[in-house]
């Protein structure tokens, strides 16, 4: 790559509470197609981490293979990244998290990477409630291999080749809900006002947080017949509300009338304010979330927004009861029983 990002920034470039400018959260220049939805998601991740005053080097970004999975190169250049193999981001992230529970894990995947080859790992990382942010950049196709339908391609939607997909699409939010994810959301790559607060909420969520981001592939999925294309999505988008992020203040208010706003308190005390549609929407009920997705889909619409949120469950470390200190920090002295125990051990084997 011979691209050179202009190094000059305005001297007064604002910094966040830990004194970092947004530049500290950027990565290498993207090599994705101009206009690719994935780049917008990268930008939203950058902004979210900046806003949340995260230390970039305390973040690990892990992905599979695909255009989407390339994006970790394009954000958080000061964080370690791992572009693993196709469909296996969940297991690599699981291992990483086991080794050091103190980093923030941002897992990035594609719809091919997650809903096809990665389906098994996806299901099981949800089930384990691994403390991570899991973002699917969902373009309904296999971008990097030139536009084949993915399993999230809507039935009847046509890819570049113009042949409509004959199979029912898989709704990853529904699956995540089904498998017990603590936070489930959906957004649209172009809607940063909705996306950034959701990413922030996911980062703060203690446990598995899933965001399915509809992210149009401008190159292979922009035929008029495609249902994931920018226009089509715009037209058909049905948001549950505008979500705005407000730092740590008040508690979740569950009982509130339609047409008003609702605050969802997050793990660290910070909140989401959910602008509610006329219809009631219960964020804490899995069943309601399921039905709502289903109902909205029945109208051929896509439900976006925070769909489900429940912080009560313990994450993997909690479930398997590991020590608070990251395992990768334990010393040989702590880990190795040493010769002391061997006398009795050997004796027990005689």
């Amino acid at each position: 790559m011979t691209f050179i990002r202009p190094n000059f920034r305005h001297p007064e470039l604002s910094t966040n509470a830990i004194g970092q400018s947004i530049k500290s959260y950027e990565g290498a220049l993207s090599t994705l197609c101009a206009g690719c939805g994935h780049d917008s998601i990268s930008a939203a991740i950058i902004k979210s981490c900046f806003d949340l005053n995260l230390q970039p080097h305390k973040i690990a970004k892990i992905s599979g293979i695909g255009c989407s999975s390339k994006t970790p190169t394009y954000f958080l250049g000061k964080a370690h990244g791992f572009n693993s193999v196709h469909g296996r981001m969940p297991s690599v992230t699981t291992g990483a998290n086991m080794a050091n529970r103190d980093l923030l894990y941002i897992g990035v995947s594609g719809d091919g990477d997650t809903a096809s080859i990665g389906m098994g790992q996806f299901a099981h990382v949800v089930r384990r409630n691994l403390n991570m942010v899991y973002i699917v950049m969902n373009n309904g196709c296999y971008g990097l291999t030139k536009g084949q339908d993915s399993a999230t391609a809507d039935k009847g939607s046509a890819s570049k080749k113009g042949v409509p997909s004959v199979f029912d699409s898989i709704d990853l939010c529904q699956l995540a809900l089904q498998l017990g994810a603590g936070m489930v959301a959906r957004s649209f790559s172009g809607d940063k006002h909705q996306l950034i607060p959701l990413i922030k909420a996911a980062i703060r969520h203690p446990g598995f947080a899933f965001i399915d981001v509809v992210s149009p592939c401008v190159t292979f999925n922009n035929t008029p017949a495609s249902t994931k294309g920018y226009e089509w999505v715009r037209d058909h988008l049905e948001a549950t509300g505008t979500i705005d992020f407000i730092p740590a203040k008040s508690e979740i208010t569950i009982d509130y009338p339609p047409g008003t706003s609702r605050q969802v308190e997050l793990h660290d005390g910070s909140e989401l304010v959910l602008q509610k549609n006329a219809e009631d929407y219960d964020l804490s009920s899995r069943k309601a979330a399921m039905n709502r997705i289903e109902a909205v889909r029945e109208q051929q619409h896509i439900l976006t927004g925070l769909i489900y949120h429940n912080e009560s469950a313990a994450d993997t470390h909690g479930l398997i009861n590991t020590v608070r200190q990251p395992l990768n920090e334990l010393s040989q002295q702590t880990l190795c029983p040493g010769s002391g125990v061997l006398d009795s051990l050997n004796e027990s084997l005689r």
């Binding site: 296996r88 699981t94 384990r128 050997n346 084997l349």
Partner: protein, 609 residues
């Protein structure tokens, strides 16, 4: 005229049982008693790939000479499985002893005149003394052990002591068990006085040795080596590695105050996830491992290639079983060498270790973690079912408290802070092909890099420049050369012969025994290989010999392939000595096979010095 086999502390006994009938613990009681009598013993459990109701055998070799491999042939059979009775009867050596449940008459077809029948009415005795079916089932086994104690003239107190320590926590079971032993002992004494020429008499030959399964030793090794993360998926015969790891972690690694674990064991959804977990954890600076068997190795192949190319430490234990495919899941083999050594597409090479007994399973596991981190590459412990799942007599586990883990070239925050030049994740600074790595989260500004299975330059940046790519691939070969100097050296014995024998892993017991025999008539050198890639000593040994027998437990002579391929030696120097039936290779087969082929080889005279 019948020629009864007579022997003291030197014979083989086969127990023929039914899977799930509770025989295993009785048989272990027996072999442990031999061990405690100070007589070397080797027991092998030959069990079916099912849970209940199928034939299972337990083979115990009692050997005052200390031979711990399979000898071949049975001098005594305890035949308590009707399903295999005919076969067990037929396979008994002439002059041997056929011990059976005489509650039912032997079929008329059992007409051998060259053996001694020892009938004990096990069922009748049980029925007479126990009413509950469960108890009848269990004590039947204990009764025959009691009978054997009498027949072999074994010191009865050793059994009593065993029972007492075994049921220390369920004291009410002690008495009934001893009673059952007694029942057998007494019946045998009454009805089969002096009929058996085989004895097990007390000796003091076992020193400070222990009895342990290879898998338990490997699991313990992982604890001592400081492994904190294990991702795994159940598969016979590897499952007990992680079970042992868990057991020992629970014993030594639970925080006393909080009750929290200083380890994370995750049963993954499959082997791909298991090794993914290991790679993620290793990448993140923890020592991590997984254990599996052939099918798992196949499934892990893509990930192994990633770890090789992106240079992430991986500790993998392959407890080999009989392949290909599902093969014989409960039989042993050494047939994953190629799959492990050259796992995955593209040009790849992985470090292999070949432990030969449980003590070495422990030691190689510890070394393996060091090598994986030092070399930043997958290291695969090539154990097998025989080693992993049988209880072997071996040296005790030792630990040198002065030894410190070799965590390899990992830059600390301090080092990063004071780094002079630009750091490159894949830069060969030291000329040994091993670059320096960093752990996520170490330093706010320095040392972050992007790990990828795609081609990368010295600074971990993605590249499609073929020259840069090729440079990286060549450097991996430099690292490979470094590996040759770090892995455990082969054991060489003798240096004057023109004929050499090469072996590795669990063939060692039988090979050592066979060598003793062979050396009475031939001058033969020997080398036990402990690791791949091969150190110089392996090349030297091969070059110093005209004819090399390679003993392997696979069909395609996979170690020979590795030797020829990596050392560029002439394959015609090698004579293959292969066993593939899934049973541990026997000393008698080796002697016979090597002797026969030695005849074909012209010169067996010692070289001029």
């Amino acid at each position: 005229m019948m020629n009864n086999i007579t022997a003291t502390n030197d014979f083989v006994i086969r127990f023929a049982n039914v899977n799930g009938s509770g025989s295993a613990s009785a048989n272990n009681l027996f072999s442990k008693a031999v061990f405690r009598l100070g007589v070397p013993v080797a027991a092998k459990n030959i069990f079916p790939s099912n849970i209940q109701g199928l034939p299972t055998w337990f083979e115990v070799r009692i050997s005052e000479q200390g031979y711990l491999g399979r000898r071949g042939g049975y001098d005594f059979v305890v035949a308590v499985n009707g399903q295999t009775m005919v076969r067990d009867y037929q396979e008994l050596l002439p002059g041997g002893y056929f011990f059976y449940d005489s509650s039912k008459r032997l079929p008329d077809t059992f007409t051998r005149e060259d053996i001694t029948l020892i009938g004990i009415p096990l069922t009748d005795i049980c029925n007479a003394h126990y009413t509950e079916p469960r108890l009848r089932q269990i004590f039947k086994n204990i009764i025959y052990v009691g009978a054997l104690a009498y027949l072999f003239e074994m010191d009865f107190t050793v059994f009593e002591d065993s029972i007492k320590s075994q049921f220390a926590k369920k004291a009410k079971l002690i008495e009934p068990n001893i009673k059952a032993l007694r029942l057998g002992f007494d019946y045998a004494e009454e009805h089969h006085k002096a009929c058996c020429g085989l004895n097990i008499h007390r000796r003091d030959l076992n020193g400070d040795q222990i009895m342990m399964e290879g898998n338990a030793a490997a699991g313990l090794g992982a604890v001592f080596a400081g492994a904190t993360v294990a991702g795994w998926y159940p598969i016979t015969p590897s499952t007990s590695v992680v079970e042992a790891f868990e057991k020992y972690c629970k014993a030594y690694r639970v925080d006393e105050q909080s009750g929290q674990n200083k380890f994370a064991i995750l049963q993954a959804e499959d082997e791909l996830a298991a090794i993914g977990i290991v790679i993620g954890a290793s990448w993140n600076g923890a020592r991590a491992f997984t254990a599996t068997s052939g099918p798992g190795v196949s499934l892990m192949s893509e990930f192994l290639g990633l770890a090789y190319f992106s240079e992430i430490p991986v500790m993998l234990m392959d407890i080999q079983r009989t392949g290909p495919s599902t093969g014989m899941p409960t039989r042993t083999q050494q047939s994953d060498l190629l799959a492990a050594a050259y796992a995955s597409h593209g040009d790849t090479k992985n470090v292999l270790l070949f432990p030969a007994d449980p003590t070495e399973c422990f030691a190689h596991t510890v070394i393996g973690f060091d090598l994986a981190e030092r070399l930043q590459t997958p290291v695969i412990l090539m154990s097998d079912l025989d080693l992993g799942m049988n209880v072997h007599q071996c040296d005790p586990i030792n630990w040198d408290d002065d030894y410190t883990y070799d965590r390899g070239k990992v830059l600390t925050e301090e080092q990063l802070e004071h780094l002079g030049e630009r750091w490159g994740r894949y830069l060969d600074v030291d000329g040994d092909g091993i670059p320096y790595r960093t752990i996520p989260g170490t330093h706010p500004e320095k040392g972050a890099f992007f790990t990828r299975g795609s081609s990368h330059d010295e600074y971990a940046a993605y590249t499609e420049d073929g020259t840069v790519y090729a440079r990286g691939m060549e450097r991996l070969l430099v690292k490979w050369d470094t590996a040759k100097t770090l892995v455990p050296k082969a054991d060489v014995s003798g240096q004057s012969a023109s004929v050499g024998v090469i072996y590795y892993g669990t063939s060692a017991w039988s090979a050592d025994e066979a060598l003793e025999t062979l050396r009475t008539t031939h001058d033969i050198d020997a080398m036990r290989i402990k690791a791949f890639p091969f150190g110089v000593e392996v090349r030297e040994f091969i070059e110093a010999h005209d004819t090399l027998f390679v003993i392997e437990q696979n069909r395609d002579a996979q170690m020979k392939t590795l030797l020829v391929n990596e050392l560029s030696v002439d394959p015609n120097q090698f004579v293959e000595v292969l066993n593939i039936d899934g049973m541990p290779i026997t000393a008698s087969y080796l002697v016979e096979s090597i002797n026969r082929q030695l005849a074909d080889v012209q010169s067996t005279v010692p070289r001029e010095a």
